[in-house]
């Protein structure tokens, strides 16, 4: 593998890892909330969190560009603190986190669906608080599903292009990720290079999905179904 390829791969993994870390905790909490609450407000909030999944990534990119741009709400605030976001790897993390968030929330929700609520209720009767029941019962039982959620979010972040390229650009060695590198290689007619990158993406994607399949296979005996 050439050095330039390794750099691109490193940036991709770095961006995807940070985005996954960013979405993990809020995703798990919201997933749990959406599974156990059926209020209108919860449904409304759920619809809002799913938005990035159903609108074009380029639209997300554009909105982020406006938010983080010089005149943007967040841009003004960040530039006052001397923090540069646009055209940095941080912008790539933000863009892929926004795009991965819906998958994190949805998959976490499914993971909690599999946890028998009676077990939490029993724990409560035995003196656990709600918070304790969540941490000691629901969370451990949903753990495999949550791990799968994290893996899927990671792969979404790896594959993100539209939003990322708009706010982070496509700067080799700084913000160029696997997907923007594939696009560039194709653009400038370096088909072999594109092919190598595609094979890496395939391997990465396959490995991730295979992992989630393995995780879902061995569901705990304390789970529903």
């Amino acid at each position: 593998m050439s050095e330039s390829l390794l750099i691109t791969l490193w940036i991709t993994l770095k961006v995807a890892t940070f985005s996954t870390l960013l979405v993990f905790i809020p995703g798990v909490l919201l997933g749990f909330y959406f599974e156990r609450t059926h209020s209108r407000f919860a449904k409304f909030l759920s619809a809002v969190t799913i938005l990035p999944m159903v609108i074009p990534p380029t639209a997300v990119g554009f909105i982020l560009l406006k938010l983080f741009g010089y005149d943007g709400i967040l841009g003004t605030w960040l530039s006052a603190m001397d923090i540069e976001i646009l055209l940095t790897w941080k912008a790539a993390v933000i863009a892929s986190a926004v795009m991965a968030f819906p998958i994190m929330v949805r998959t976490s929700k499914v993971a909690f669906e599999g946890v028998d609520q009676k077990l939490e209720a029993m724990a409560r009767t035995l003196g656990y608080s709600r918070v304790q029941a969540f941490f000691k019962v629901a969370l451990p039982l949903a753990f495999r599903g949550l791990l799968a959620a994290a893996i899927l979010s990671f792969t979404r972040a790896v594959g993100e292009f539209g939003a990322t390229v708009t706010v982070a650009g496509n700067i080799y060695g700084k913000t160029q990720t696997l997907s923007s590198a594939i696009y560039t290689a194709e653009q400038v007619g370096k088909e072999n290079e594109a092919m190598v990158l595609i094979i890496i993406s395939l391997a990465l994607g396959f490995f991730a999905i295979f992992m989630t399949e393995m995780l879902s296979k061995k569901s705990s005996k304390y789970m529903r179904n």
């Binding site: 560009l65 983080f68 741009g69 841009g75 055209l87 650009g169 496509n170 700067i171 653009q187 400038v188």
Partner: protein
């Protein structure tokens, strides 16, 4: 309008035009008049000329292709997709260096660019997109390309490059003069003299289609019509008398 027209294009009274992103505003305006006069709808696809050239060759969707340089038109011609005798130069453009209106960067001569304090230099991909290729050729000529390389932030087309300069005062960039004219958030800090760089010529041609090829090139002829040329001029293009 010509009455022959409707008969010849019985399948669908519309044409599909693949055009360089930098032609977006001018063509949208030209199309309004064309559609009214010719009673024919135009479907546009705007993107970097390189992306379009590849799509034109790979698919059977374009009736006309308008490239921001001659090279990508050559590519389409090499693939034998141009209707004989329809290729023509329709307008020319120039390049300018732009900065955010809040930026303090000033330029009196281009060599100073390497000394200026900016975070990134935004431009269309210098290896693929015409706007980027033209700019790269110019900077190489001025012997400042190597110093610029570490600061280059390449975009997929020239409009995306402009959007980045509009969003961030620490970024400056190079775009077509016509694009700079559309932007209220940026200012031109340097105009690249036309005699110091390759001619930026927009090339247009009718595309051969496997099925449903249109039997006329009214659209191309309309582009050299004084009404259309006036609109090109109003957008900052330098009109060129068509060769055909």
């Amino acid at each position: 309008m010509s009455p022959v027209y409707a008969q010849n294009n019985a399948h669908d009274n519309s044409i599909t035009v693949f055009a360089a992103a930098s032609l977006r505003d001018v063509l949208t305006e030209v199309a309004k008049i064309y559609e009214k006069n010719m009673k024919q709808r135009i479907h546009f696809s705007f993107a970097g000329s390189n992306v379009l050239a590849k799509q034109v060759v790979a698919s059977d969707q374009a009736d006309f292709y308008l490239s921001a340089n001659q090279q990508w038109m050559d590519y389409v011609q090499e693939h034998k997709r141009i209707v004989d005798g329809t290729r023509q130069t329709i307008a020319s453009n120039s390049l300018v260096i732009v900065a955010h209106t809040k930026s303090k960067v000033q330029l009196s001569k281009i060599e100073d660019l390497t000394q200026k304090d900016f975070r990134y230099f935004s431009m269309a991909n210098p290896e693929a997109v015409p706007a980027g290729k033209y700019a790269k050729a110019y900077f190489e000529n001025q012997k400042i390309w190597q110093q610029l390389v570490p600061k280059i932030a390449p975009s997929t087309n020239v409009r995306a490059a402009l959007a980045m300069v509009e969003s961030d005062p620490s970024v400056i960039g190079v775009v077509y003069k016509t694009d700079a004219a559309t932007s209220k958030k940026t200012k031109i800090i340097f105009e690249i003299p036309a005699d110091q760089m390759p001619h930026i010529e927009y090339s247009a041609a009718q595309i051969k289609r496997k099925k449903g090829e249109i039997k006329h090139n009214h659209f191309l002829r309309f582009l050299s019509n004084p009404k259309a040329q006036k609109i090109f001029a109003a957008h900052g293009f330098q009109p060129i008398a068509p060769s055909s």
